[in-house]
Symmetry: C2
Subunit: 393 residues, 2 copies
């Protein structure tokens, strides 16, 4: 089998050990992960199968996790993980999309057969694919268990990246930087929006220097004209304007590690108010990168940014950034640290963030974002695209 | 605003009317949809925002649904729907990824403010993004409400496609047929797997005859070598072999309406057992298309297929197909009808299916699938790629 695993077995062992310690501290015996990023981080499992119920189970008594999924995906688990055969378990296929039964009925039987039916069990209550119905079947099938919210236990364990993970983060950042430059250099009036999207996909997958890219957790976001403050629309066949703003928010992924990046382009001479907003955003992100050192509290980072916006007459509602790392659709957000007021997380070296820095005014929006890693010297940019409003004449 | 809505207002009104009738028959007063395909089908709402809590609410007393989502996506709702301003409601951004609070807390307040706090409310208990935690917040915030599972009420309402929807289904099918032909014609030994993936994305987005494609609900699935029975792996940089099987399962999407398609290619002269399996699959799908007429029960369609497999010494566990239509990541499956034993749905004209027809043996797998629409004359193929094992010399 020629599949190259993204990490050595030691890395997965260390992660499992770390998570078991966190479980012990939290008084948990069994953890059920449904978040595909958590499943992948703990075991290496990597397949587009998260549209079906599946899980990775970790019990304090186990050396290695147990993968549970569809029969058709057993081969994917065999290829992508180091799990021994007895730790790869499939549920009956007739349980899929069944009006009364559910794949988690089989999961309950597995848990009972291991003698864990009265365990303290943590589930990922707010993970994207952990549906209310899955939880009901689990609670009904294991009436003696004590269920708790994992509160993102594995997401939090993922927060500080290992050296091996940082290699992928940097490669992803190099790819997205290259894609951003390529795409911007090809923008011209009349080019339909969907052609820009097609170019992004081709470039982010072809990658750079022999390092290909994976699918990213969200589609390329490309807005222009009246829609620069409606950032999540699907592309259309609308042609790029002769003059005006183009907003690009893209990512690239290496072995599912994501580096997002946003840039603002103006075709033709930009109006003063666009230039001014862009300058303030760059100034704000500069200040953020300077302060983002180990020991600093996250809300202080947001404070620096907000003060610069306010001093210039702008404001941004909501958070200005979030932690990043391994992820799967539909989101490249790690769902732990939010760079915003009230977030008391203390920065540590190796944490990675996307400082989104998008500011939307009534008439238009702009964003000049960075993916960065926290270092002793401050936030070190992973990406390397010019940090300014890019003007195409 | 130059955004072209995919359907006329009448189409959305008809859908809302149909769903309200189904709600009345089911004894429901309020329906909360979180499935992005259901949200889009009812209102036109179209944005990559499903990684955050959001919903479309429909109450029997309302003429039009209410959209609820993040502040940043209000503009997307304004652009893509016909909803009046008072039916577009945002929740407070600080509720996002908050350890104690949840955006559905605001949703509860909205429901109370409308006087619906003791209503019989259907939620989509098993929709991908309807998390167990969202449901807990809803139940806690509305203690007098009677909660019921919608049991896919809107998914079932989507089952028979309108003429306007069939236009997009056919366009999507033409795009994926073109993509499949293009990709196959460029396959050659040594080509890295990721380059095939990049080509698929570029082709399925560039579309055909001026009809561009949207993002599809799953990534292209491209397997070869030892991995043809591990169908959901991410691509790698492994080169195509000098000789051997290549399996492709792709889709294209027009205004989010999906047509999936699988083909099996053999580079070099195929072994007899591969040819034989492919021939049997084609024979089986032929028989399926012939029988798939209005009035036929779905399990009979599966029976025809299974008998042809068995007669030739093969078998396939699990279902052989599923209904298709509008969808969003991570799944192009409509999650209603499954072509398998026990499914008693009676076929009606305008239903669309992907007959997946993949058969995995111990050593290899093959699939020659079709997307089709049920007509009086039988299952009419939407796609038009040669239905045979494709041999590249």
């Amino acid at each position: 089998m020629t599949f190259v695993k993204p990490f050595l077995p030691e890395e997965f062992r260390r992660r499992v050990q770390d998570v078991k310690q966190r479980m012990e501290q939290a008084g948990l015996e069994l953890l059920i992960c449904q978040d595909p990023a958590n499943m992948g981080w703990l075991t290496g499992y990597d397949a587009w199968s998260f549209q079906y119920p599946q899980a990775v189970l970790l019990h304090l008594d186990l050396d290695m996790p147990i993968w549970v999924g569809r029969l058709v995906d057993v081969a994917c688990a065999q290829v992508t993980t180091d799990l021994p055969a007895q730790n790869i378990v499939s549920y009956s296929d007739h349980l899929v999309h069944h009006p009364q039964l559910h794949p988690y009925d089989d999961l309950c039987e597995l848990i009972k057969s291991r003698g864990w039916s009265s365990a303290t069990i943590a589930v990922e209550l707010d993970a994207h694919y952990y549906t209310a119905r899955a939880h009901q079947h689990l609670m009904k099938g294991l009436p003696e268990a004590k269920f708790r919210d994992s509160l993102g236990l594995v997401n939090w364990a993922r927060l500080i990246k290992s050296d091996a993970e940082l290699v992928y983060m940097r490669e992803a950042a190099q790819i997205v930087s290259n894609t951003m430059r390529e795409v911007i250099s090809n923008l011209k009036p009349g080019l339909p929006q969907y052609k820009v999207a097609a170019e992004v996909y081709a470039s982010q997958i072809c990658g750079l220097d022999g390092a290909y890219g994976d699918y990213t957790s969200a589609c390329p976001l490309i807005q222009f004209g009246e829609n620069t403050n409606a950032p999540h629309l699907t592309w259309t066949d609308k042609p790029l304007p002769k003059s005006g703003l183009v907003l690009l928010e893209l990512a690239a992924a290496r072995r599912h590690y994501h580096a997002p990046l946003a840039r603002t382009v103006h075709i033709g001479k930009p109006p003063c108010e666009v230039e001014r907003l862009a300058d303030v955003i760059v100034e704000g992100v500069d200040a953020v990168l300077e302060i983002a050192k180990p020991g600093v509290v996250v809300e202080e980072v947001d404070g620096v940014w907000q003060r610069i916006l306010r001093r210039n007459g702008y404001s941004k509602k909501g958070r200005s950034g979030y932690s990043i790392g391994i992820n799967y659709p539909p989101d490249w957000n790690e769902r732990t640290v939010s760079i915003r007021a009230e977030d008391k997380t203390v920065l540590q070296a190796g944490m990675c963030f996307h400082f989104q820095s998008g500011v939307r005014l009534n008439e238009f929006g702009a964003a000049i974002s960075e993916s960065f890693v926290v270092t002793q010297g401050g936030g070190k940019r992973l990406t390397d695209v010019d940090r300014r409003l890019i003007v195409l004449d």
